[in-house]
């Protein structure tokens, strides 16, 4: 008996990926059970690709108890949109595309102009409108606490009032694995099953689960231009300033957002192993390196979250 127990202690020991995975699956099932109309936000980025894998682990052989939704700025990398549609078809799940362009056409959002225009902030309007229109009371997202300082303080079940706003001082205590999903009509909850994952955990999981990613995550040649020390993809969506001449470079992207605010890094890492080696050795955070939206001010992310950003 004693010997059997010792074997069990070792044999049932969980790796960090096992434990993070088990926690995330538990969270997904809690959302499905406690909220009436959840939706999973899928952008085609690596974090939301991990979410889809976790949803498969939580609910297969059944279908997902929620649809998928992409808040499409209309300025995405075409490779990512192609990937998104293919992945959704493989899974046989339903995708709702909430379009920022439509919000602009309807006069709900106002397009920024000029060389530094971005549709990043407009996503909030489109997201909130789509949540209300579809009656969604919970949005499952792939945000992680290691991405940014305000995120480090956010709960896994994060409450939003009927304006979709986050109040960091009035967060519910979150104890053990006992999530409280009770909300009033009109209120919403944002749920982050991979809150406790780091960028490296995500890549290790992608490797362990052999997940396919859009090709822009791997080194490839593309037309770029330099701005504020970062490399941006040259595209019809960004107006270039004088002197911002496009040139060809071998780059990869660490995050996948709007083409207007996602910078690439010069890299030869064309395989998963090579990317992970670079990430493990890197000395700059992924958002610090590649996201113009977080550079806008010291508290940029916190301000956007307060008004309803995911």
């Amino acid at each position: 008996m004693r010997a059997a127990l010792l074997v069990s202690t070792t044999a049932t020991r969980l790796s960090h990926l096992d434990e993070l995975e088990a926690e995330a699956i538990h969270i997904m099932r809690e959302v499905a059970a406690e909220l009436e109309r959840p939706v999973l936000l899928f952008s085609g980025g690596k974090d939301s690709i991990v979410l889809l894998r976790l949803a498969e682990k939580a609910f297969r052989p059944g279908g997902f108890p929620f649809p998928l939704m992409h808040v499409d700025t209309g300025h995405n990398f075409p490779e990512v949109i192609e990937f998104r549609d293919r992945r959704v078809a493989e899974l046989g799940e339903r995708l709702i595309v909430a379009s920022v362009q439509e919000s602009i056409d309807k006069g709900r959002a106002v397009e920024q102009t000029g060389p530094r225009a971005s549709r990043n902030q407009l996503q909030t309007v489109t997201l909130l409108d789509a949540m209300f229109e579809n009656g969604f009371d919970a949005a499952i997202g792939g945000a992680r606490r290691d991405e940014e300082r305000a995120r480090a303080k956010e709960r896994i079940f994060s409450f939003r009032d009927d304006f979709g706003q986050w109040d960091p001082r009035a967060q519910r205590p979150e104890l053990w694995n006992l999530y409280n999903g009770r909300i009033r009509k009109g209120e919403q909850v944002r749920v982050f099953p991979i809150s406790n994952w780091t960028e490296l955990d995500v890549w290790q999981y992608v490797a362990r689960e052999r997940l396919e990613l859009p090709l822009i995550y791997y080194a490839h040649e593309r037309e770029v231009f330099r701005r504020d020390g970062m490399l941006y993809a040259a595209s019809g969506f960004v107006e270039r300033l004088p002197g911002e001449e496009p040139f060809a470079a071998t780059v990869r992207f660490r995050t996948v957002g709007d083409m207007s605010c996602t910078g690439g890094v010069v890299s030869d890492a064309a395989t998963l192993e090579a990317v992970v080696a670079e990430i493990a050795a890197t000395r700059v955070t992924e958002r610090g390196e590649t996201r113009a939206d977080d550079r806008a001010s010291e508290a940029a992310m916190e301000d956007r979250k307060r008004v309803g950003y995911f």
């Binding site: 434990e19 940014e148 305000a150 409280n180 780091t198 508290a299």
Partner: protein
């Protein structure tokens, strides 16, 4: 790190959840900053940012505390509002650190951070020794069932790295542990500011033979903390695809709360009392030979039974208590005081019910660390012993036997807020 991040060892490293207890004055933020800095977890842009901010604030030094202060109000006021979570990794282990602020709403935050922790790091200022706060932190860590306590006796540089001073404090701490109880503890002399005994062993304290802080965190045994004996499986979700391919499939999905589960195990279903056997323990990737505590799996049974969310599968030879009444230690987290007669929602495992507070037996006197039986009302951040009567049965073990089965939250049904963390001491039918 580097290329080794994808080796089998790197993928298999354990996750250790830590909570740090202490206030800014103890140098807690500096200790965390040091731990992150010396393990190379601070990125260049983060470092530049805190250098800039320190200079602008006129701190006069690179204020590593700024690394964990995430919200604008915190940076402006130099305080910490909420629990911050940070991950870091060494070649041996992956750590998840909950940093709970020391002063504002202290109990509430520490309980939040500590509820999932395997290791608590309690900071002690070498100049001050064991103070009331040290006693409270240790008591809370023990109450929350954190198995491993680490006392970081900080600012040893300010007491000339004195062995005599350290031993005075160590004796007091061992007495404290005997009082509050803990599975194991270690007392480490260190200087967070200078980096002594944080990541590297100190050359200033040759009289100390023990490990540096990180060395201890990398080796403390955590896998044996789980309850591997009593099989417990709270049903979270029922998977019934009803598709052509899986027409008769019925799987019970959940996270194992205790014991090791295998096909062929006898099963008692509570509260119904029905019996069956495990047909398979599986995941989306297929069947498993066995699965232990913490894993999220799907269990299929040999018989078709009416089982739903909130039911419990368990070992018929050692079932939990089917409880209608609980005696529990609770941390009260609402500004509205708790009084006898209050009605609240209760969530334990995946099961919910309503509860009436029949009695508030005592409230902890945080100064004396003794129960004060003359108080019968819990105020914000109070810890007390209460008796709850339940509207329907909960399937429970004591918190001491099983953290997952013995913990609950109380919910104010008017506001939907989580207002208490509870740990079951005993239960009755």
């Amino acid at each position: 790190m580097s290329i080794s991040a994808l080796t089998d060892d790197a993928l298999a490293s354990e996750l250790v959840r830590l909570v740090t207890c202490g206030s800014v004055d103890d140098g807690k933020s500096t200790l965390i900053g040091r731990l992150l800095y010396d393990t190379k977890q601070i990125f260049v842009d983060q470092m530049e940012h805190i250098e800039e901010t320190s200079e602008r604030r006129g701190d006069g030094y690179v204020n590593l505390a700024l690394l964990t202060d995430g919200l604008r109000a915190e940076r402006e006021q130099g305080i910490t509002i909420d629990v911050a979570y940070r991950g870091f990794v060494t070649p041996k282990r992956r750590f998840q650190l909950a940093d709970a602020p020391g002063h504002v709403q202290y109990t509430r935050n520490m309980v939040t951070g500590a509820s999932t922790a395997a290791v608590a790091i309690v900071l002690v200022d070498a100049r001050k020794g064991v103070i009331e706060q040290t006693r409270r932190h240790s008591y809370l860590a023990a109450t929350l069932g954190i198995p491993h306590l680490v006392f970081a006796v900080n600012k040893m540089d300010l007491v000339e790295f004195s062995e005599v001073r350290f031993h005075e404090i160590e004796v007091e701490l061992r007495e404290l542990v005997a009082l509050v109880g803990a599975q194991d503890e270690i007392v480490i002399p260190l200087s967070a500011l200078q980096g002594d005994n944080v990541v590297e062993r100190s050359t200033e304290m040759p009289w100390y033979q023990g490990p540096a802080l990180l060395e201890h965190l990398e080796t403390v045994e955590i896998a044996a903390d789980r309850n591997l004996d009593d099989r417990r499986f709270p049903v979270q979700w029922v998977i019934r695809p009803m598709s052509d391919e899986h027409h008769d499939y019925r799987g019970y999905a959940g996270q194992i709360a205790g014991g090791v589960w295998r096909a062929g195990d006898d099963v008692l279903v509570l509260p119904s009392g029905a019996q069956s056997r495990v047909a398979a323990v599986e995941t989306a990737d297929g069947p498993l030979d066995f699965a232990g505590p913490g894993r999220s799996v799907t269990i299929r049974l040999e018989h078709d039974l009416d089982i739903g969310r909130g039911d419990l599968l368990c070992d018929p030879a050692c079932p939990p208590i089917v409880a209608r009444q609980l005696e529990a230690t609770v941390c009260w987290m609402s500004e509205q005081p708790l009084r006898p007669g209050a009605r609240l929602g209760i969530k334990q495992t995946t099961r919910t019910a309503r509860a009436v507070v029949d009695e508030i037996r005592s409230v902890l006197d945080v100064h004396a660390l003794e129960d004060d039986p003359s108080r019968h009302e819990l105020e914000l951040n109070d810890i007390g012993t209460i008796v709850l009567r339940l509207s329907g049965p909960l399937l429970v073990d004591s918190y001491a036997q099983n953290r997952a089965m013995g913990s609950f939250i109380l919910i104010d049904e008017a506001t939907n807020n989580t207002v208490a963390a509870g740990m079951i001491r005993s239960a009755e039918a």
